[in-house]
Subunit: 498 residues, 2 copies
């Protein structure tokens, strides 16, 4: 790089797929995280923080080759040439942590973690390359009581966040039941010959919500041409094979006993299938004992999640209220989180199977949802009172006024620029200040301070047509003795409900 | 990469210089961040969150070359070949943000941001490559009232964190005063011929606290050999030049007027020096007006900070209590944060000077400090009550007990493993559970539940010598009717102050 006299001016811009998060969302997200955390804590989960990046091989991606160092993850080399990658979720670092500290951990081990994760993927509308997740996992037990507990905890989280009962549902399925159905139609899991066909079946089921049963039927069979004319190859199942699968995904019902009996019939004598039904049965009895009825937790065999990853119960937190999607169509808001059982967590490191189950909430998705529900209190923190600087030589006096307001717990700032009255009022307006505090020469001589109520002022200025009347009347403005500043400001704020 | 049948077992290990943060520190850090945030909010600062990485050129590092892509920062290439870097502080992303949104921002613009930053540096004891900072900056005003405000805010933060008055001090200096002194001794800033000499002078002053005045005097002159025999070359000042510098750094005093008058004499007719003294004077009058005496904010010309970066006021939050350092020597705890005025913030992007001043707190350093002060409440969150599983067929009953406890706001969990009584008690012990809840066959028949007080039990087991007496007495254990579970557990917890 040769030096040049012409200064290099980089363009100030965000990296592709990244975003800045503004004040309202930062505050709302913090409140959401704190609500979720209080529920996780109540259930006995303990916090853990792992670093932002891990050795690439520990994250479970293969060592990236030189031509394509980033395949879904952001990777870079340390100065000792070892590859590092930014975490793409919070589960892979948990696996590393558990494998590293296995003998010292209480088992089962319950931990929660929140934080950003990064995906090196093509960004799209509302799809960013950094986003925040909040996970809870129970490691070291095969008991589906752990899964049931997480489902109940997910329901509790929704309500603690202010989502009313009826506007959310935790949908629960078990992959072993699906495996049992697949075994019965002759494409048993474990037989690699059917691996790709089985994946296509799972992918088809996963589209049920979005495309409806007719489309899924086509995708299970020969294939489907969509509205745009694009053709998706099907799983190639015969009508005899398709029919149990379609029956399976349509078993959801408010009555768990009915779902379980239908599923029992569908899996027949498949041993893996029977095991899955038994696990669902156990979970259903735990839900019932604690009073979580199907308006909160619903057995729903159409839930697939994480193709080829989960090994037992899977669950999804869905918001059921209607919203308008990007294409202007009305649809359920959909998933804000989910998870399931994955028993291969630590196997990669230690060669032993350590069963685990976990749940992950997508925080920015949840923020959108709460926003639509009107549950985000915008400007939850009152904008500050602004003390104007009428005489630059009297900074200490103005600073003292701001100090007195703060000491009384009132958010306040002295104007710190060097501009005149007009610009200062514009600044206060931009800040959304409810009140400005003014002391010019005249007020000073009288030992008074002027308090201008900007909220009331804005309302009045909409009503008063006559500009002269407005100026002469000086509405929404009072003068008080210097010693009354704090009390008077507090009174004005109280009149606006702050 | 050829496929091999032998499974590749990656070693579960943290990347070099990284660490996992455990439950106590995660909780304590969250409490600290929340305390600091409440103070920043009170002063009218607004939160902002920028992403973890930026375009490398926007961060202000030159485009890394291929041989050495990481120089102090972690860098990697996007798929369009643009270089990205993990942020190494929170100021550089702020500069990008301000430059990008300059016209739309209220000016002055007050923002705070917390989050991890990353340094690609050699890790050492207590020195990690990822750590958390919490910054507040005021952008767009040259008024030192902004600096004064941040100093007062820093003092408020310390007290909100529980650090008693007298155990901390915010030390304030102004680089222009030092520049004035340097001008008077003939090595004026702005003259590139003296650049390196001036840096050596600054570096020498910065060592005053650690090495004392005699060593600094040597470093300002010919140089110094330390105890290990290593020689550090000095700035090469003459005795006549050294003496005003030594006077300068020793001007700290509880009486601001005295400091200012001594500094005035030292800078003489240097215009930059006089400007610096005036700025300190303004800040001192603002501190006085709001009642911040020198036990909280101290004018101290020995504060240097950030060689060649700051352009006006600089300030440092120092903890003054004594601690024992790594070498076993007693010393002041030292800095937990600091900052100052840097007027070149946005210049790199826009070519215009946007004055700014800011403060940064190092969160893990602060955690160590509060820990030493006994201000961190370890296990601030009570460990959960554990409901034992005495009969695997009765999971729903045990789950219901945990549910009832949680519904009453008591942190509780059902044991989720499959082991027997002995292992379950060991688990409860490991979790630090204050209470376990037991219902075996006998209790069930009587409609009772046994509540075992592990805290009291541990205390008693230390007192009772006779093992037989211990077993027969079953101390710290009560049986209650099933309906009394919650009330009885609450009573036991209350007896331990929970």
């Amino acid at each position: 790089m040769g030096k040049s006299n012409k200064p290099h001016r980089p363009k100030a811009r965000l990296p592709k797929g990244m975003r800045d998060v503004g004040a309202d969302e930062v505050r709302a997200s913090a409140a959401m995280l704190s609500a979720i955390q209080s529920v996780y804590e109540l259930y006995g989960f303990e916090p853990l923080e792992t670093p932002a990046f891990e050795y690439t091989d520990a994250l479970g991606k293969f060592l990236p080759d030189q031509d394509r160092p980033n395949e879904g993850v952001f990777s870079f080399q340390d100065d000792d040439d070892q590859w590092l990658s930014l975490r793409y979720d919070l589960t892979a670092p948990l696996a590393r942590y558990v494998a590293e500290h296995y003998d010292g951990l209480p088992k089962p081990f319950r931990r929660y973690q929140m934080g950003p994760v990064w995906r090196n993927e093509k960004p799209g509308p509302g799809r960013y390359r950094q986003f925040t997740q909040f996970d809870a996992d129970t490691v070291g037990t095969a008991s589906v009581a752990a899964d049931a507990e997480i489902c109940m905890m997910a329901a509790d989280c929704m309500e603690r966040l202010g989502i009313p009962r009826g506007a959310y549902v935790i949908r629960v399925n078990n992959r072993k039941v699906l495996d049992g159905v697949l075994e019965r139609i002759g494409i048993a899991p474990g037989d690699p010959a059917f691996d790709s066909q089985r994946m296509t079946v799972l992918r088809a089921i996963d589209k049920l919500d979005r495309l409806g049963p007719d489309a899924v039927r086509l995708l299970l069979g020969e294939g489907r041409k969509d509205d745009s004319g694009d053709y998706t190859k099907g799983a190639g199942l015969s009508p005899d094979q398709i029919s149990p699968v379609m029956e399976f995904v349509a078993t959801a019902s408010d009555d768990p006993a009915e779902v379980l009996s239908r599923l029992g019939a569908l899996v027949g004598d498949s041993s893996i299938g029977q095991q899955g039904v038994e696990e669902l049965q156990t979970m259903a009895s735990l839900f019932a004992a604690a009073g979580y009825a199907s308006d909160r937790i619903l057995l729903d065999p159409s839930v697939v999640r994480g193709l080829g990853y989960y090994t037992g119960p899977v669950y999804e937190a869905e918001l059921t209220f209607e919203t308008t999607d990007e294409e202007g169509e009305t649809a359920r808001f959909g998933s804000v989180g989910g998870g399931g059982r994955y028993d291969g967590l630590v196997q990669r490191f230690k060669g032993i199977e350590v069963p685990a189950t976990g749940f992950s909430v997508g925080i920015s998705r949840l923020y959108s949802a709460l926003n639509e529900l009107g549950k985000i209190q915008m400007n939850a923190v009152a904008a500050p009172v602004v003390v104007l600087v009428m005489d630059p030589d009297r900074l200490p006096d103005y600073q003292k006024m701001a100090f007195d307001l703060r000491s009384a717990g009132i958010r306040a700032e002295m104007y710190l620029g060097t501009s005149g009255m007009r610009a200062q009022m514009k600044y206060a307006d931009r800040r959304g200040a409810p009140v400005v505090v003014i002391q010019g020469e005249d007020e000073r001589a009288r030992g008074e301070i002027t308090i201008k109520d900007l909220v009331e002022g804005t309302r009045l200025s909409g009503e008063i047509e006559d500009n002269a009347e407005w100026r002469s009347g000086r509405p929404a403005q009072i003068s008080v003795a210097e010693g009354e500043l704090v009390a008077a400001v507090r009174q004005v704020l109280a009149s606006h409900g702050n």
